[in-house]
């Protein structure tokens, strides 16, 4: 089964247009101006998808699609957004009326989202009546994705409002075969779906190795919570990372593929790491020794992450010494994106999230941005049967 990456660019643009149409519908219905913050298409497992809805209460609608494109869409509002919309459309209404208003808003917005796809395919996409959703985690997880064990393509859009507490997500989870058929005939540059899946698995293995390295060095029991490979317009990368403040490291890697690897810790996690690594009183001002400890951890995590690629591909990937960074996520990513945007319009963003097993208070994000055309070549050359050769014991070589 082959995937044409160029088609993904088109479909990503369609998803963005659809999200803008949905946002416009919301503005028309409620008078609240919204804008599409980010749209991308990700390859992920259902459990990674579940993470989208962990940690908060959501309300929205699920609509099933059929005919030219099978699958489903989920349009979800967080609690604040739900309250603002319900109060705007049904002030003083009963709970049932307010629920109905959310359902109808979701229905209208989803229709706007899907129409562009149908027009592009010059066909019709049937949509089911909306089902009201409320809850978190698996309560609002895409039903078809939850039932499957295979990786799925997910089109994700995040829409925000500057003036009101409106923040909603549109997830479109097409059935795999249906999407691939819709993507149309593939050219010589196409990549097998299996290779994309395998590369995503290799990346997850790299993230697991990086998590293990954190545990070995700091004693913090960590695990990979989310791993996904997204295809995103390069200019959207800073917004995808968001404005949360981080401490971390940036490394450039060269070889095939070349690119950048960014490791971000939220402030409490960075402080926990330094407390574990530097056996002296720290004042929170990031002394040279503290920065050195963060950089060395970043260095070791980077190797854990990219060595597997090099070993499977039987190549060598070098990386620069780490650069210490302390800033908002979007500001850390902007200069990298500026450099990469000279040669590419879209990027593969490999995003892994590492957390502590018990309470989830530790938060680390690994973001890899390989050169897009080089990654395409790597995927072409990837031997699926070597996919498990990520680790090499030096004693086997020496």
């Amino acid at each position: 089964m082959q995937i044409d990456i160029d088609s993904l660019e088109t479909y990503n643009a369609l998803a963005r247009d659809g999200a803008q149409s949905a946002a416009a519908s919301l503005s028309q219905l409620t008078g609240i101006d919204t804008h599409v913050e980010v749209t991308n298409v990700s390859l992920m497992t259902p459990s990674d998808l579940e993470f989208e809805y962990v940690g908060g209460e959501f309300s929205g609608v699920r609509i099933e699609l059929g005919d030219a494109l099978d699958g489903e869409t989920l349009l979800t509002f967080d609690e604040e957004a739900r309250d603002v919309i319900a109060e705007t459309l049904a002030p003083d209404g009963t709970e049932r009326l307010q629920e109905s208003s959310i359902k109808e808003v979701g229905n209208i917005m989803t229709s706007g989202f899907i129409d562009g796809w149908a027009d592009h395919l010059e066909t019709t996409i049937d949509i089911s009546p909306p089902t009201f959703l409320s809850g978190s985690g698996t309560d609002v997880l895409a039903a078809s994705a939850a039932a499957e064990d295979e990786q799925v393509f997910v089109f994700r859009s995040r829409v925000e409002s500057a003036a009101e507490a409106i923040d909603f997500h549109i997830l479109f989870v097409p059935e795999r075969d249906s999407l691939i058929e819709a993507l149309g005939p593939t050219g010589e540059e196409s990549i097998s779906f299996e290779k994309l899946e395998v590369f995503n698995e290799m990346t997850k293995h790299g993230a697991e190795q990086a998590a293990e390295n954190i545990t070995t060095m700091t004693g913090l029991e960590t695990d990979v919570e989310v791993n996904r490979m997204s295809f995103v317009p390069i200019d959207d990368v800073p917004a995808a990372v968001g404005d949360r403040r981080y401490i971390g490291t940036v490394m450039e890697f060269t070889g095939k593929p070349s690119g950048y690897l960014v490791i971000l810790f939220d402030h409490p996690s960075a402080e926990a790491i330094v407390d574990a690594l530097v056996p002296m009183e720290t004042d929170g001002n990031w002394s040279e020794m503290e920065q050195s400890a963060v950089k060395e951890l970043g260095n070791i995590m980077t190797s854990g992450f990219i060595d597997g690629w090099a070993n499977v591909l039987e190549s060598s990937i070098d990386h620069s010494p780490p650069e210490f960074v302390s800033d908002m996520g979007s500001s850390i990513m902007s200069p990298i994106v500026g450099r990469m945007a000279r040669t590419q319009e879209h990027a593969f963003l490999l995003d892994s999230m590492i957390r502590t097993d018990d309470d989830g208070t530790f938060h680390c994000e690994i973001l890899a941005l390989p050169d897009e055309s080089e990654l395409r070549e790597v995927l072409q050359d990837l031997l699926v049967e070597r996919a498990d050769r990520t680790h090499v014991d030096p004693s086997e070589v020496f």
Binding site: M289, N299, T302, S303, P321, F398
Partner: protein, 118 residues
């Protein structure tokens, strides 16, 4: 036995020093490959613990130059890099041992013992 540590990370140099002190004599520390070559020529240590990813000149290039000048030099790569091709490059450059970070004290001491024993 005299040991030279070459690593760009102050943190890692302090960690290695902590592990090796008491067992070996640390003659000095280098922050990059060029310094490692200079300090090797100055001290003629019995062993070099050499990082790979370093600024100015990497550890494999430095090892190559050190073993070219002194074929009896003993170098252990002490690195986060776990790539097979890099391990082969390290062997070609003349390294006799390879430790991947993160490491524990026993694995460092064992590898030193192996390399010193030849």
């Amino acid at each position: 036995m005299d040991v030279l540590i070459a690593d760009d990370s102050e943190f890692m140099r302090s960690l290695l020093r902590e592990i090796l002190e008491g067992e070996y004599e640390i003659v000095d520390e280098a922050e990059n490959g060029v310094e490692a070559i200079e300090l090797y020529n100055e001290y003629d240590p019995d062993l070099v613990m050499m990082d790979i990813v370093m600024p100015i000149r990497d550890g494999i290039e430095a090892t190559d130059e050190i073993t070219d000048t002194d074929p009896n030099a003993k170098v252990i790569m002490c690195t986060s890099v776990g790539q097979e091709q890099k391990m082969k490059s390290a062997i070609q450059a003349g390294a006799e041992g390879y430790i991947t970070k993160p490491f524990q004290k026993p694995s460092v001491l064992d590898e030193i013992e192996n390399v010193v024993a030849g």
